[in-house]
């Protein structure tokens, strides 16, 4: 490229550059940009933001989760203590292997003797379940109706889970009554 062509090109580029400098965005483009600012930027400003529908839903969901978590936490010391209490007593549970069948009732024996471990230890729902220990006695309906309640009483551990199911996880005689 010789110098004449170079000068000619530079002159042409300068003229074109000056022409381009006069270009302005059209009013339509300004309007579109303003709409985009309203849509994308103003919405992001936290102080001017109106609560949108999804935000209300998100807060509701978060509040629900928090309530459930609080409930579980409130139940946890009690249920944990109960589980701990059960877990700490397997030695006192009469077993066939120990050869001390304190409980003579065959139903209770079936529950207590054939349970080398506590069902609560294997539960797949360790936190959203609670074990309630109730005191009970074994009697027929007629005996109960006549008021002839046997003196022999047991601790019955009942596991209540959040899905609504309930099962007995342990039965243990109350020794002090004997």
């Amino acid at each position: 490229m010789n110098s004449t062509h170079d000068e000619r090109l530079s002159e042409a580029l300068r003229l074109y550059r000056d022409t381009l400098r006069e270009e302005r965005p059209s009013p339509q483009l300004d309007t579109r940009i303003e709409a985009a600012i309203t849509q994308h930027v103003s919405r992001r400003a936290p102080s001017r933001r109106a609560p949108s529908r999804w935000r209300v839903a998100a807060w509701s969901a978060a509040a629900s989760l928090a309530a459930i978590a609080a409930g579980v936490l409130a139940l946890r010391p009690w249920s944990a203590a109960t589980i701990e209490e059960i877990s700490s007593k397997p030695a006192s549970v009469p077993t066939a292997a120990a050869g001390t069948p304190v409980v003579n009732d065959p139903v209770v024996n079936a529950a207590a003797v054939d349970m080398p471990w506590h069902a609560a230890d294997l539960s797949p729902w360790p936190v959203d379940a609670a074990i309630v220990r109730v005191r009970g006695s074994l009697a027929t309906d007629s005996a109960r109706m006549s008021g002839n309640v046997p003196r022999r009483q047991y601790w019955v551990d009942v596991r209540l889970t959040s899905d609504g199911s309930m099962r007995i996880v342990g039965v243990e005689p109350i020794y002090e009554d004997f």
Binding site: M1, H5, D6, R8, L9, E11, A12, L13, L15, Y16, R17, T19, L20, R21, E23, R24, P25, S26, Q28, L29, R32, I33, E34, A36, I37, T38, H40, V41, S42, R43, R44, A45, P46
Partner: protein, 227 residues
């Protein structure tokens, strides 16, 4: 309203959702991006779409601009360039098909000629038209370096950041682009001169009264010159 804040400050405010910062950035750089897109595409409608998309991209997500990687203007040109690349990829090569049929589509011809009597003197407008057409005929990789360095007068450093290549590559591409451009301009002017010489020759009577078919592709739209 011009905001005197630095680019970095405006970007920070944009991150915080300040609409005024977005407006300031648009007022500051909207025209530059428009010029860039206009020179690259040759179509005002498309160029305005590119500007719109560039600023929407900037606003939609908090800007990922990192000041240590370069000035904000390079970041913004970079967004526009990616948009343009996507657009140009879908376009036919300049020599194969006419430009878009927008209301303000720029002419694609490399060598516009006039029907006027002043054949030897190329007017200012004609020269601009030629260089614009010649730039538009360059391959995109050379076109963008000419537009950024010669028309937008960006430094080689900023152009390298926009083009995501070393400065040496910018220099070599620019050298090559100028050579191509000079050759095309020279060809165009030569063609113009020869056509002008032909115009001085006596015309046949049938040519003078031949009806003009508006669909016939012409080397130069004389209506544009007359308007």
């Amino acid at each position: 309203m011009q905001d005197g804040a630095a680019d970095g400050e405006l970007v920070e405010r944009l991150r915080d959702g300040d609409p005024a910062a977005a407006r300031s950035l648009y007022e500051r750089y909207g025209r530059a991006i428009l010029r860039f897109a206009l020179a690259m595409t040759g179509c005002r409608e498309t160029a305005e779409d590119i500007v719109h998309d560039t600023f929407v991209e900037l606003m939609r997500r908090p800007p990922r601009f990192e000041p240590e990687r370069g000035p904000f203007v390079a970041y913004l040109y970079g967004i526009a360039r990616h948009r343009l690349t996507r657009h140009l990829r879908g376009m036919a090569p300049p020599g194969d098909a006419p430009a878009e049929t927008g209301s303000e589509t720029l002419p694609m011809q490399a060598a516009p000629v006039t029907f006027d009597s002043a054949e030897d003197e190329v007017s200012r407008e004609q020269l601009i038209e030629r260089v614009r057409a010649a730039i538009f005929e360059l391959p995109p990789v050379h076109r963008e370096v000419i537009v950024l360095c010669e028309l937008e007068e960006l430094s080689y450093q900023i152009a390298a950041e926009v083009l995501e290549c070393p400065i040496g590559t910018v220099r070599s591409r620019l050298h090559r682009a100028r050579a191509l451009l000079a050759a095309r301009l020279s060809e165009a002017e030569g063609a113009s001169a020869s056509v002008a010489a032909d115009r001085t020759a006596p015309r046949r009577e049938t040519d003078r009264h031949a009806p003009l078919d508006p669909q016939t592709p012409m080397l130069f739209d004389y209506r544009r010159t007359l308007s």
